[in-house]
C-alpha cells in the first residue's frame, strides 16, 4: 500500500471535520494521519490527510471529498514536490548521567528541550516522518515515558499555491 498526501481547503464551519472523517469511515478508507488548522483566510481551514491505499482508493477519496459542499479545493501532493512536517513531543527519562548525552543527540537532530524535571526531559522536534522516527528510536535508548505526535502538514514546494480559483 502506498501512502498519499492530500491537501484540502475547507470552509471553517462547525462539523466539517466530522463530514470529512465520516466519509473515510463509511467508504472504508484509512486515514494514516490528519492535521487541521486555519489559513490566512480565517473562513478557510486546511486539512492535510495522509491516506494509505492504492490508486483506485486515492481517486475515490478525492472525488468523494470533492462532493462535500464544504470542500473548496483539493490537491494531491507528491513526495518530491512538497515539504511535509510533523511535530513530536517526547518525554524521555533523564538521569544526571544520561542528561548530557540526550542533549547532544537532541542537538544533532536540531530538536529543542522544552521542559525539564529531576527525572525527565521533554523534547520537541519537527521534521519528516522518517526523521521523527529516527529521533524517536534514539530516544528509546534512554526510556521514553510518553509521546505526543501530530499528523503531518504540508505545502507545495516552489512558488505554486493552492489557490481558490
Amino acid at each position: 500500500m502506498e501512502k498519499y498526501t492530500l491537501s484540502v481547503l475547507v470552509e471553517n464551519h462547525a462539523g466539517v471535520l466530522s463530514r470529512v472523517v465520516g466519509l473515510f469511515t463509511r467508504r472504508g478508507f484509512n486515514i494514516h494521519s490528519l492535521s487541521v488548522g486555519t489559513t490566512k483566510d480565517e473562513k478557510i481551514s486546511r486539512i492535510t490527510i495522509e491516506v494509505k491505499g492504492d490508486d483506485y482508493m486515492l481517486e475515490q477519496v478525492s472525488k468523494q471529498l470533492s462532493k462535500l459542499m464544504e470542500v473548496i479545493k483539493l490537491k494531491k501532493l507528491t513526495e518530491g514536490d512538497m515539504v511535509k512536517r510533523g511535530l513530536i513531543l517526547i518525554k524521555v527519562k533523564a538521569t544526571p548521567k544520561t542528561r548530557g548525552e540526550i542533549i547532544e543527540v537532541t542537538n544533532v537532530f536540531r530538536a529543542n528541550i522544552v521542559d525539564i524535571s529531576e527525572t525527565t526531559l521533554t523534547v520537541e522536534m519537527t521534521g519528516s516522518d522518517r526523521k521523527i522516527d529516527a529521533f524517536l528510536r534514539m530516544m528509546e535508548n534512554y526510556g521514553v515515558e510518553e509521546i505526543a505526535r501530530t499528523g503531518m502538514t504540508a505545502l507545495e514546494r516552489g512558488a505554486s499555491t493552492l489557490r481558490l480559483n
Partner: protein
C-alpha cells in the same frame, strides 16, 4: 417576523405548495406559521410516510418534495425515507425541529443529533444556529437538492431559532463556493466514445435513472431512433424507452431478465448512461472491465470508476452529452445482424402467461392486463419484493417518471406513501400502488392519510400470505427451510380493513376475472383496494431465480 415566518416565506418563494409532515413541540412554530401561508400541509401517520410522500410528490413534479418532523423520534423516523431518496438520487428537503440551542448536547427531551445521524445519506445537511441564516439555508437546500446529481437535504432548526425575531434583511443569497457542478462534457472524451461506437458491431445502451433526473428521455430516444442501438435498462432506467418498444430488451441484473443480461455480456460496447452500475445490476463487473467496452456517462464524477473502471468515461449532464453525441457520431447505424441476434435472444426467453385459471392469479398476467387496460396512462408505484420485480419485468413502463419504486435502497413501505405523494402532486392521472401483503403492512396506517385528505390511490395487493421474495430465496438457497416468512396467521381480512377506512374494495382469484376486477377498480376516481390472490409458490421469474421454472412449484 420570526424565524418560522421567514422559513415559510422562503419555502413559498422556492415554489413549495404542500408539506408532508408530523407535528411536535420543536417544529410547532413552523406549523403555526404554515397556517398563515399559501402552503398546504398533509398530516401523515408516521414521519417515514411523510418523507416517502415527499419523494413520490417530487418524482412526479420533478421538484424537491418537502417534509417536516419534530426533534428526536420524529427526526429519526424520517431516516429510512431519507436514505431511500439518497440512494435513488431523489430531490427532497426535510425540515426537522431541534431542541433549543442552549440544550443541544445535553441529552434534552426528544433531542437527537439528526444532522450527524443522516450525514452518510444526505447530499448535504444544515443545523441552523442563527436566525439570520435561515432564508439562505432554505434557498441553498433547494438549489443543492435539485441540481447536479439530485438528492435529499436536511435542515435542522432549533425551536428558539424558529421563534427568534428578525427583520429578515440578512444574507439570502446562495453562497456555495464548494459546490462543484459539472461543466460541459470533455469534447475529447465524447469523440473517443463516438469513435468507439463507429467501430462497434454490437453496441448496447444501458439506460439508468440519471436519464430521468436529467430529463433526457427525448434525446436518448432520438439517439436510438437514429442509430437503432438496442436498449437495456436498470430498474431506475425503466421507461426511458417504453418497455413495449421493440428496441427495448428488458431490465438487467439479478432480478432482470436473462436476455437483457445476455445482450449486455455479448455486446462489444456498452454505453451506460446515468447508472451506478450497482452490484444488483451488473454481476459480471470484472468481465465488463476486462473487455474494454464500457462507455460510462454520468453527472457524478465519483461514480466513474467506483464500481467499474470504464474504458471511456464522460462526465456531465446526460441531456447535453446525448445531444452532442448525436452530432459527433454522424450517420452511424447499428448492424442488422446484431439486432437480429438480440431479437433471437429475446424470442427464446420471453415468458407468455397462459392466462388459464389455476385457482390463483398469475401476477405477471395481471400486470400485462393492467398495462393494456390502462394503456399505461397511470403512475405506478411499487413496494419492494416480488411485487416490484413482477412490475419491472411485466408492466409496460412508458415513461421513467411514471414508474415510482425504491431501487437502490429496496425499502419496503415505500410504495403506498409514495403513491399518496404522487396522487397529491396531480389529479389528472390515476395512481396505482402495487404491493405485497408484507410491504403493505409496513406503512399501512397511511391509509388514514389517504382517506382524510381525499387523495385517491388504486391499491393492488398481491396477497400470498408470505414474504414472497425471501420465501423464494429460502426455496432456492436454503433447501426450502421456510423461516420467518409466513404471515398467514396475522393477516387481517384486507377487504374488511378497507371497509373500516371507508375504502371500496374487491378481490380476484382467477385469471379470467382479472379484466373485470381491473375495470371495477377504475369505475370511479376514489381510492380502491383490489386484493389479488397469488400462490405463495409463484415464481418471481427473474434471472436470479430463473431455473427455467415457469411451471409452478
Amino acid at each position: 417576523m420570526t424565524g418560522a415566518d421567514l422559513a415559510v416565506k422562503a419555502l413559498e418563494e422556492n415554489g413549495v405548495k404542500v408539506i408532508f409532515g408530523y407535528p411536535g413541540a420543536s417544529n410547532a412554530p413552523l406549523i403555526d406559521s404554515l397556517s398563515r401561508s399559501s402552503i398546504d400541509y398533509i398530516l401523515t401517520r408516521n414521519e417515514q410516510g411523510a418523507a416517502h410522500m415527499a419523494s413520490g410528490y417530487g418524482r412526479v413534479l420533478h421538484t424537491a418534495g418537502v417534509c417536516t418532523a419534530t426533534s428526536g423520534p420524529g427526526a429519526t423516523n424520517l431516516i429510512t425515507a431519507i436514505a431511500t431518496a439518497y440512494m435513488d438520487s431523489i430531490p427532497m428537503v426535510a425540515i426537522t425541529g431541534q431542541v433549543k440551542r442552549a440544550l443541544i448536547g445535553k441529552d434534552a427531551f426528544q433531542e437527537v443529533d439528526i444532522t450527524g445521524a443522516t450525514l452518510p445519506f444526505t447530499k448535504h445537511s444544515y443545523l441552523v444556529k442563527d436566525v439570520t441564516a435561515i432564508v439562505r439555508v432554505i434557498n441553498e437546500a433547494f438549489h443543492i437538492a435539485t441540481t447536479g446529481r439530485h438528492g435529499p437535504v436536511l435542515i435542522d432548526v432549533p425551536i428558539d431559532v424558529f421563534q427568534s425575531e428578525y427583520n429578515g434583511d440578512g444574507d439570502e443569497e446562495i453562497n456555495l463556493r464548494g459546490y462543484k457542478l459539472p461543466g460541459r462534457a470533455n469534447e475529447t472524451q465524447l469523440k473517443k466514445a463516438a469513435d468507439a461506437l463507429k467501430k462497434s458491431k454490437r453496441p448496447v445502451i444501458l439506460a439508468g435513472g440519471g436519464i430521468c433526473c436529467s430529463g433526457a428521455e427525448k434525446e436518448v430516444n432520438e439517439l436510438v431512433n437514429r442509430t437503432g442501438i438496442p436498449v437495456i435498462s436498470t430498474m431506475m432506467g425503466l421507461g426511458v424507452i417504453p418497455s413495449s418498444d421493440e428496441r427495448f430488451y428488458g431490465m438487467i441484473g439479478s432480478h432482470g431478465v436473462r436476455h437483457a443480461n445476455s445482450i449486455l455480456n455479448r455486446s462489444d460496447l456498452v454505453i451506460a448512461m446515468g447508472t451506478r452500475l450497482g452490484d444488483r445490476s451488473v454481476a459480471n463487473a470484472k468481465g465488463l472491465e476486462d473487455a474494454d467496452k464500457l462507455v460510462h456517462i454520468d453527472i457524478d464524477p465519483a461514480e466513474i470508476g467506483k464500481n467499474l473502471q470504464p474504458y471511456i468515461p464522460v462526465v456531465g449532464d446526460i441531456k447535453e452529452i446525448t445531444l452532442r453525441f448525436i452530432q459527433v457520431i454522424g450517420g452511424y447505424k447499428v448492424d442488422d445482424a446484431w439486432k437480429e441476434e438480440a431479437n433471437e435472444l429475446r424470442r427464446s426467453d420471453i415468458y407468455t402467461p397462459s392466462g388459464e385459471n389455476t385457482g390463483t392469479v398469475d401476477p405477471r398476467y395481471f400486470l400485462r392486463r393492467l398495462s393494456e387496460i390502462t394503456k399505461s396512462q397511470i403512475y405506478l408505484t411499487t413496494e419492494v419484493g416480488q411485487n416490484q420485480i413482477w412490475c419491472a419485468n411485466n408492466y409496460n413502463v412508458k415513461k421513467p417518471d411514471r414508474f415510482i419504486t425504491s431501487g437502490g435502497f429496496g425499502t419496503m413501505g415505500y410504495g403506498l406513501p409514495a403513491a399518496i405523494g404522487a396522487s397529491r402532486a396531480q389529479d389528472s392521472i390515476p395512481v396505482v400502488a402495487v404491493m405485497g401483503d408484507g410491504s403493505f403492512q409496513m406503512d399501512l396506517p397511511e391509509l388514514g392519510t389517504m382517506v382524510q385528505y381525499h387523495i385517491p390511490v388504486k391499491m393492488v395487493l398481491f396477497k400470498n400470505d408470505r414474504l414472497g421474495m425471501v420465501h423464494e430465496l429460502q426455496y432456492t438457497a436454503y433447501k426450502s427451510n421456510y423461516q420467518m416468512v409466513d404471515i398467514t396467521g396475522g393477516n387481517p381480512d384486507f377487504e374488511m380493513l378497507a371497509k373500516a377506512y371507508g375504502i371500496r374494495s374487491g378481490s380476484v382469484s382467477e385469471n379470467s376475472y382479472v379484466d373485470a376486477a381491473i375495470e371495477d377498480m377504475f369505475a370511479d376516481k376514489e381510492s380502491y383496494l383490489l386484493v389479488v390472490n397469488v400462490s405463495p409458490y409463484e415464481p418471481t421469474g427473474d434471472s436470479l431465480n430463473d431455473k427455467r421454472l415457469t411451471e409452478r412449484r
